[in-house]
Amino acid sequence: MTGALKPPSAFAITPHKVSLCILVQIYASPSQISVPFPFSSVSQHNRLGVYLLALTKSCDDILEPKLDQIITQLREIGGLLDHWLTDHLTSRLSSLSSPDDLFNFFNDMRGIVGGPDSGVMDDDQVILDPNSNLGMFLRRCVLAFNLLTFEGICHLLTNIGIYCKEAMSSCSSYELRRLDDSGNDLESLSEYENMDLNLVFKKINEEMEARKRATEQVSFHLHLPKELSTLVEDIEVFADPKSEHNDKGRESSPYASSGDLLRDFDPNGGVFLRTNWQIQGYLTEQADAIEKHGSSFTLNAFELTLRQLQKLAPELHRVHFLRYLNSLYHDDYFSALENLHRYFDYSAGIEGFDFVPPTGCNSFGRYEIALLCLGMMHFHFGHPKQALEVLTEAVRVSQQHSNDTCLAYTLAAISNLLSEIGFSTTSGILGLPFSPMTSVGTSLSVQQQLFVLLKGSLKRAESLKLKQLVAANHLSMAKFDLTHVQRPLLSFGPKASMKLRTCPISVCKELRLGYHLISEFCCEGSTMTTDGAFSTAWLKNLQKPMGSLVLSQDNSSRNNSNPFLFCTQPSSIPGSVLQLVGSSYLHRATAWEIYGSAPLARVNALVYATCFTDASSSSDAALVYVKLIQHLAVFKGYKEAFAALKIAEEKFLCVSKSRILILKLQLLHERALHRGHLKLAQQVCDELGVLASSVTAVDMDLKTEASLRHARTLLAAKQFSQAAAVAHSLFCMCYEFNLQVESASVLLLLAEIHMKSGNAVVGLPYALASLSYCQSFNLDLLRASATLTLAELWLSLGSNHTKTALSLLHGAFPIILGHGGLELCGRAYITEAKCYLSDPNFSVSDNPEVVLDPLRQASDELQALEYHELAAEAFYLMAIIFDKLGLLEKREEAAASFKNHIMALENSQNVEDPLLSV
């Protein structure tokens, strides 16, 4: 209840804390020697200290560890002291048999902590500094104990009994004195607990098994028919798929055995929550993990934990938010919606880390954050219109409550929405509340509005010093600059100065600005999580074999400082910042891809893949892999690309609409086109089309690509008029939704269609239009390829145009050879050879290498690509040249190759037919 929030006295004394107190007492027993009694070396002493520190901070679970867990860990830590430590701990615990024992125990504890004036401490006397971490912990324990009622003390006593008994039942080697108050019910209770826990474990195990099975069986998901998967399978793959299989099974396919997991927990005496601070840390880490792993995060196991947490702490509302995230990333719309509303209803948007609402500052709650989240949720589920409506409301409410931070984030979200999802018009949606920002009104186009929004959001973020938001805004600005020509919003006077080109420099500038700000980032994020995460990592490493290896050599070497500290050193940069830096590299890669520099794109993608995959979300990481694999396919041929794809599939979950699946379809389509498997190509193309307009939302990019590929397939099947019709409607769509980069390639395709249909004259204007698009968007590689097409067009106009064609071609060669893929180079070479051959002034016998050399190059490259048609053409030309030169042997060789390719082209269709007739 916001009206009546309880004071946060989150620290409750539990058996686990009592045993920590006992250990702290051992660690800091007042003695005169530098290494107190049980310890034989300083490092041993320190190790216990670090261990205790880690126990108070780690946030790897919601529940406090049981006694036997502590005993096992102590065994790792203590080395030779192990027996002494555990004996001492257990005997001390079991000696607490009456409330008075507890009183005395906590009185002793007070003695360990130094007084307030202990600034001048004896060097050799170990006394805990009251302001150190452990000192604070001890003081809190003492305070919490003093606040307990007598009933509370009785409960504590009972719980200590249960706590010891559980440990005893699991490791019987430790003889514990029986507690005298153990009644019938106590025994039955602990038995009952164990039963319950076993049940849970069994369930989780079952879930994992089922998941493993699921991943093993379903290798290729959802839409594709079986044959396609076999098609992929038949490519030889040299990677070893077994290596990671088990790990993957654990992470992937979260849908399994959901029904029986929904059973309720029975919380009981032996289960205690950790401190509030630790639980919040745990939840934060889990939230990060959900976001990072997306749908491969385990749904049910985590849901189980949340359920338990909710039962144990019903007023901890963050649980609902985590539930929302969990269902969001598993595409459960209704549950996500329900939990989002529930979270904000309870928390009013002001339940943060420290759980204490800032007193007095805002009694109205921060429901605008709820709107922001809801908007993002709709965006995630692909309801752009609703998202926009909600975000509009968020803008209005944040203005009303003058919550500038939220406003800045909302604006960023809206601009993100506008840039990601194609709106042909926003009229009627983006209305009134924006007028203060867009004083020009709503007569602007979507792009102009987006630009204004971006600028506004950037300015706000800068003035509010939200560094991450500034960086993110710079990135989206870069994205905008990349694909949009900037026009003045209001044009007065002569328009002479308008420059209709995108500006790569500004893209670069924005990217740099974003990066610059991030590098300035100095640990502003909460220290809590990193601290806790560090402790968690430290504790986890305890179980690793490496830990015991180090521990075995133990006290022999004093200066052997703790190696854990080095191997688990957490980076000081928060994950979210790393993500932003990473995505700036991703943007660079994309920018270079569009501008047409393959090596630079590859370098940036590689940087991302090596440095940022740990911090990035799995979808971003998948995107980088996709880019790299595409690069491989274009430059090295399909064999290598499919081998790499295999690896990527191992690494990422192949669910529907994942980038990896799309990539697979793309590669299959291209290969089918090249090999001449037109039916297969069409089938794959249809699959892509289905993915593009799934139930959730229409993906404009994918839709464009699917119909582009459709047109290409039709072209390959020599159905020119249909291909032209498809391409034409595609162009109309691109124009409507302002997809200008795509327009360029559609125009180029149109030119090609007309060329192949023998209408070179009609094709020319298209090629020229495409060229001008390429120029204004700085699409250098596409421009080179348009130039190539233009040259081909000229060439097909007759032999008197060969000069023009050749000069065009030579102009484009530097880029084609430097950045173009196998296909483009091959085509260029063949065209060059054809130019020479059709030039009446050129004689083969004079200078055979001028034509033979490019043809050889072309044939090599096209063979690698398995592009039978063009390869056959190259060999055909070679055979003719050899014939003219009189080199009969070589002629036969070329002719044989020609025949092979033609046969392959025809055969493939015959072979594939029965397979695809299903």
């Binding site: 039955s188 809801l374 209005r396």
Partner: protein, 577 residues
């Protein structure tokens, strides 16, 4: 008549058996019904029927449909044999245990019976242990209250009880009472399916234990579960069904059942109160008030269900009656959640919202899952403009019962108040989903759509249409529909709704600016349509009203005259005659 007689004898035995087993609330219920059966007036002197004054009008109404609802059943109506099992010595122990039990010393009672093996002794021992566990649980709940909410205390006896009872059940050494307890334990442990089965077995072999029926009822959360139960016929089943229907919001079905039952149990206060509650859900406040008045006359110290009565008084704004009721219940039992709720209602009516909240809080302290108190407290917070607290209170209500449409509606209102109409829509949608027949909800949703921020008029029209189809007592919907259609430029639809609204206002003999507006629109509309006769009718009616419309109407008439005849102007008065 014989069925009445048999009911009576059954109940008499049952009451003895139930109270012998310390199942007090069940025996209380049974006794209430026993007295509720109408006596044969010939046999009894008026002094005997003192408690059964059949004077009220409602009772007389139901006299007519004298349906003997007791169906022929497979259950043998033998009066259950008395004290068959335990020998005399053990009987002594039993008596001691029962005395301890009556003094609420449960563990002592259980201890006395530790070696007894008779079914009755076993039941009492287990029941005492169960109650001891429950008592301890309640105490622990307060002791263990953590900063993040209540730590879930559990009844620590459940495990051993379940083990023992299941063994007994397996060996067929269990009586219906034991089965009831077993079902209770299973339900607490969350094993609802088995609990259902066991409880069904219990009520089939011993139908007079109302506690078993109510446990079963709380497990029937959907109609499907209800239909899947294999219950043998008995008149007690009718009570059960009526109560389940009420919980499942099938108020009409429930009402039919209760009215049938009233044939035999004419004077049952219980049935009367249930009928009142059902009618309250159907918003028939007048009748509810009469029933409750009657009920209070017969049973002046009743606190149960009086919160419903206070709600009625609240809606009817009966200050003094509500204060009288509050006074009465507080004298009877101050620490009942119902009492606190009634006082809260009173303060709310007086506009003293802080005090009202205090009493609702107290009610919730006494019963954390008291649904209507959460909702009403939400209303108070809304009045106090403390929207976050209101949202919180409403949300707790819907988390206790997701079908509580009032709380969903409250949530929607709260968000609308904060200027978040789009966000509020989600909640309004929820509320109309659970209560699609309430026009107020539809109207609220429509107004949300109409708000200037959203301005989604098409959707608003759809909502108003739904509202108009439910009985919209305040007649907002028709008028808004007409207006919206006019604004959107649909004159035909606008005319249709104006006409309907007009008819309705005439039927209810209402006056006001709406009539003038409707007449005005219709007159101009029909004139524009060149349907002069109709236009003239409306114009003439407009002449009865003063104000500028009268002049406009005159002008319209004049204009029509000209258009119709081509003649120059004619005096209106002349035409009128």
């Amino acid at each position: 008549m014989s069925s009445k007689e048999s009911c009576r004898s059954e109940l008499r035995t049952a009451i003895r058996q139930l109270s012998d087993r310390c199942l007090y609330s069940a025996s209380k219920w049974a006794a209430e019904q026993l007295v509720g059966i109408e006596q044969d007036p010939t046999k009894f002197t008026p002094s005997n029927t003192r408690f059964q004054r059949g004077s009220s009008s409602i009772r007389r109404r139901f006299r007519t449909n004298e349906i003997t609802s007791t169906p022929p059943t497979g259950v043998a109506y033998v009066s259950t044999p008395v004290m068959e099992e335990d020998e005399v010595i053990h009987g002594d122990f039993y008596l001691l245990a029962k005395s301890y039990f009556d003094c609420r010393e449960y563990r002592r009672a259980a201890h006395v019976l530790r070696d007894q093996t008779g079914k009755k002794s076993v039941f009492l021992r287990c029941y005492a242990l169960y109650l001891a566990g429950e008592k301890r649980k309640e105490e622990e709940m307060i002791e263990l209250e953590g900063p993040l909410g209540k730590s879930d205390a559990v009844n620590r006896e459940l495990v051993s009880l379940e083990r023992e009872l299941s063994t007994l059940c397996k060996n067929n050494m269990i009586d219906p009472f034991g089965l009831y307890l077993y079902g209770l334990v299973l339900k607490e442990k969350g094993n609802e399916n088995l609990a259902c089965k066991v409880l069904v077995e219990s009520v089939n072999s011993y139908p007079w234990n109302w506690s078993a029926w109510s446990e079963l009822q709380s497990l029937c959360t959907t109609v499907d579960i209800l239909n899947s139960l294999n219950l043998s016929n008995h008149w007690m089943k009718e009570f059960f069904l009526a109560s389940v229907y009420q919980e499942l919001r099938m108020h009409n079905e429930s009402l039919v059942k209760y009215e049938n039952l009233q044939g035999n149990f004419t004077f049952s206060n219980y049935i009367q109160a249930q009928i009142a509650k059902a009618r309250y859900s159907l918003r028939e406040f007048e009748q509810v008030e009469v029933i409750f008045e009657d009920l209070l006359r017969n049973d002046p110290y009743r606190v149960e269900d009086m919160d419903t009565y206070s709600n009625v008084l609240y809606t009817k704004e009966c200050f003094s009656a509500l204060s009288y009721l509050a006074h009465r219940v507080i004298m009877t039992d101050k620490y009942r959640p119902e009492s606190c709720c009634i006082i809260g209602n009173y303060y709310s009516l007086k506009g003293q919202h802080e005090k009202s909240v205090m009493y609702f809080r107290r009610a919730l302290k006494l019963n954390k899952n008291y649904l209507s108190a959460w909702t009403l407290m939400g209303h108070e917070y809304v009045e106090m403009k403390n929207t976050p607290a209101a949202v919180d209170a409403y949300r707790r209500a819907v988390d206790i019962n997701p079908r509580d449409y009032r709380a969903w509606y409250g949530l929607g209102q709260a968000y609308e108040m904060m200027g978040m109409p789009h966000y509020a829509l989600h909640y309004f949608r929820k509320s109309v989903f659970f209560q699609p027949i309430d026009s107020r909800l539809w109207i609220a949703m429509a107004q949300c759509y109409e708000s200037e921020q959203l301005h989604m008029l098409e959707e608003a029209i759809k909502c108003y249409k739904r509202a108009a189809n439910c009985n919209d007592t305040e007649a907002i919907a028709l008028h808004r529909l007409a207006k919206l259609h006019r604004e959107l430029g649909h004159p035909e639809e606008a005319a249709f709704y104006y006409k309907k609204d007009l008819e309705r206002m005439e039927a209810e003999e209402r006056e006001g600016p709406n009539i003038v507006e409707a007449l005005m629109f219709l007159a101009t509309h029909y004139k524009a349509q060149k349907r002069f006769e109709e236009a003239e009718v409306y114009c003439t009616r407009l002449l009865d009203y003063a104000g500028p419309e009268r002049e406009t109407a005159k002008n319209l008439l004049r204009g029509m005259r000209i258009a119709q005849s081509g003649f120059p102007s004619m005096d209106v008065e002349h035409f009128h005659s």
